[in-house]
C-alpha cells in the first residue's frame, strides 16, 4: 500500500478521477491527515527511543511521538510517566536535579520532557563547521573496519541531526566530509569516533506515521476520512451531511481497530 493507491481509491470515491476538482497535492494532504488520525485514534504505530539529553541539556521527544507505552531503565526497572507535580511530591526534591538512573518521566510541553533522577552520563557532542556533514557507515566490507561504504545523510541537515539529539547517533556516525567537493577528510581524519551514550532508559511509544510514508494497513479508513475533509473544505462541492457520514465510517473502522487493541488490553494508561 502506498499514497498512490490510496489516492486512486480516494478519487474514485470523490468521483473526480482526473483531478478536475481536487488537485493531487490537496488530496495527498487529506490522506496524510487521515493516516495521522488513524494512528492517533488506534495507537497502532509503535517505536522506541532512548533517554538521552540534547546538546543544550534538555530532553526532547522524537518528532512523531504520541504517547508512551512502556518504559524500562538500565536497571531493568520500569520508567513511569507522571506529572511533574507528582514527581516533586513523591521525591521532595525541589529542583529535580538528583543524579541516578531514571525511573520517572514527566512532560514539559513543546515536545520536551524531563526525567528523574537525571542520568549522570554525558553523550559526546563534537562541534562541526556548517560545511561539514556526516556520513553513516552502512557496510563494513571486511568486518574489521578496514573497508567502509558510507551513506550521505545530508549536508547541514546532518549537522542539525547530530545537534538535535544523541538518539540520532550510533556507533557508526561520525565520518566527516566537506560536502561540496566530497573530500573525506576533517580535522579528525576520515573517521571521528564518537563516545556512544549508554542509554539510561528506553521508552516504547505510540507514534504518528513518518512523513510521506504510507504505514497504515487499513487504507480505507484514511480514504473515508480524507473524502470527508474534501467535502467539507471544497466550497463548491460542500456536502456536510455526506462528510459527516464518511467521518462516521472512518471512525467506525478506527474504533474497531482500537477495540481489538483493548481486547489485548493495550492501554497505555495501564503501564504509566
Amino acid at each position: 500500500m502506498d499514497y498512490a493507491t490510496a489516492l486512486t481509491r480516494l478519487r474514485l470515491l470523490l468521483a473526480d478521477p482526473d483531478g478536475a476538482v481536487w488537485p493531487d497535492n490537496r488530496l495527498t494532504d487529506y490522506l496524510g491527515r487521515g493516516q495521522n488520525e488513524y494512528a492517533r485514534q488506534t495507537g497502532c504505530l509503535r517505536r522506541s527511543f532512548e533517554i538521552c539529553p540534547e546538546l543544550d541539556g534538555s530532553y526532547r521527544f522524537p518528532p512523531n511521538y504520541l504517547r508512551p507505552v512502556y518504559g524500562l531503565n538500565s536497571n531493568t526497572e520500569p520508567v513511569r510517566k507522571m506529572a511533574r507535580s507528582k514527581v516533586l511530591e513523591i521525591t521532595g526534591d525541589d529542583d529535580l536535579a538528583a543524579v541516578g538512573v531514571p525511573d520517572a518521566l514527566y512532560e514539559l510541553g513543546a515536545g520536551q520532557y524531563g526525567v528523574y533522577p537525571v542520568p549522570d552520563q554525558e553523550p559526546d557532542f563534537p562541534a562541526f563547521d556548517d560545511d561539514y556533514g556526516i556520513l553513516e557507515m552502512i557496510q563494513d566490507y571486511d568486518d574489521d573496519g578496514s573497508g567502509y561504504e558510507f551513506r550521505d545523510i545530508g549536508d547541514d541537515t546532518a549537522v542539525q541531526l547530530l545537534d538535535a539529539g544523541a538518539y540520532e547517533m550510533s556507533d557508526f556516525w561520525g565520518v566527516i566530509c566537506s560536502l561540496d567537493d566530497n573530500v573525506f577528510e576533517s580535522e579528525w581524519g576520515t573517521v571521528r569516533d564518537l563516545t556512544w551514550f549508554t542509554a539510561a532508559a528506553t521508552i516504547w511509544h505510540q507514534r504518528l506515521p513518518d512523513e510521506h510514508v504510507w504505514e497504515i494497513g487499513d487504507y480505507l479508513a484514511a480514504v473515508y476520512y480524507a473524502a470527508a475533509l474534501a467535502y467539507e473544505e471544497q466550497i463548491d462541492r460542500r456536502d456536510t451531511n455526506f462528510a459527516a457520514a464518511l467521518r462516521q465510517m472512518a471512525a467506525g473502522r478506527m474504533a474497531e481497530r482500537r477495540s481489538n487493541n483493548d481486547y489485548l488490553q493495550t492501554d497505555q494508561s495501564r503501564w504509566f
Binding site: 470515491l13 468521483a15 494497513g217 489485548l264
Partner: protein, 198 residues
C-alpha cells in the same frame, strides 16, 4: 482491463442497478470494489488464511508479518502446538519489567500489542534457529476471485458504487454485506474473538 473472474459479480451488480450497459460505472471501477469486497470479507471474518515457516534468528524476538497480512492468527511451534497470545501488560505482571529482554529455550507467549503495525514478538526470545509456523489472515490476491460468494461481493461492491454517487442505497447494501458476513464471521473467527481466549 477487466477481471474475467469477476464477470458474474459484475453482472449481478449491473442487474441490481439497472445498468446493463455499464453507463453508470465502468467495469474497471467495479473490479476495484469487488477486490475490496474480498479484502473486507477477509479482514472482518478472517476468511483468507495463509501460513509460512518462520525460523528465528539469534537474539531476535520481533518479527514482521508478510506485506499482505491483515493480522496474525496464530503461531505454532515445531510440534504443532499453538503458542498462546497474551497482552504484554499481563506478561509483564508475570515475568517482571524486563520481560521483553528475557531469553529462553521455550517460547511461551506471542505478543501482538506492543510493536509496530503487523509486527509480533516471541517471549522469551528464543535461541537461534527455532522453527515455527505462522498463520495469518491475509488480503485477497489482485485479480483473483478467492471468496466465491457472488451475493456477498456484489452487495459490498454495489454499496461502494452507490456511496460514490452519494446515494442512500449504499447503506442498505452495506447492511446486507455485514449481515451476510455475520454468520461466516461467527464460524471463522470465533477463536480469535474478543474475550474468548483469555
Amino acid at each position: 482491463m477487466t477481471v474475467a473472474a469477476f464477470n458474474a459479480i459484475r453482472a449481478r451488480i449491473r442487474s441490481a442497478s439497472a445498468d446493463a450497459d455499464g453507463i453508470r460505472w465502468p467495469d474497471s471501477e467495479l473490479d476495484t470494489y469487488i477486490q475490496e469486497a474480498q479484502d473486507e470479507a477477509a479482514r472482518i471474518a478472517g476468511l483468507l488464511i495463509d501460513r509460512y515457516a518462520l525460523t528465528t534468528t539469534d537474539g531476535n524476538g520481533v518479527y514482521e508479518l508478510p506485506s499482505d497480512a491483515w493480522r496474525l492468527l496464530r503461531v505454532l511451534d515445531a510440534d504443532g502446538n499453538e503458542v498462546p497470545q497474551y497482552p504484554f501488560a499481563e506478561i509483564q505482571k508475570h515475568l517482571g519489567a524486563d520481560w521483553l529482554r528475557q531469553t529462553g529455550d521455550m517460547v511461551r507467549f506471542v505478543v501482538t500489542d506492543f510493536d509496530d503495525w503487523n509486527f509480533f514478538r516471541l517471549v522469551p526470545i528464543p535461541p537461534a534457529a527455532t522453527a515455527f509456523t505462522v498463520e495469518y489472515v491475509r488480503r485477497s490476491t489482485d485479480g483473483k476471485l478467492e471468496i466465491p460468494d457472488v451475493t456477498l461481493c456484489a452487495d459490498y461492491a454495489l454499496g461502494a458504487a452507490w456511496l460514490r454517487d452519494r446515494d442512500d442505497r449504499a447503506t442498505a447494501c452495506s447492511g446486507r454485506f455485514t449481515s451476510r458476513l455475520g454468520w461466516q464471521r461467527s464460524r471463522g473467527s470465533a477463536r480469535i474473538g474478543r474475550g474468548t481466549f483469555f
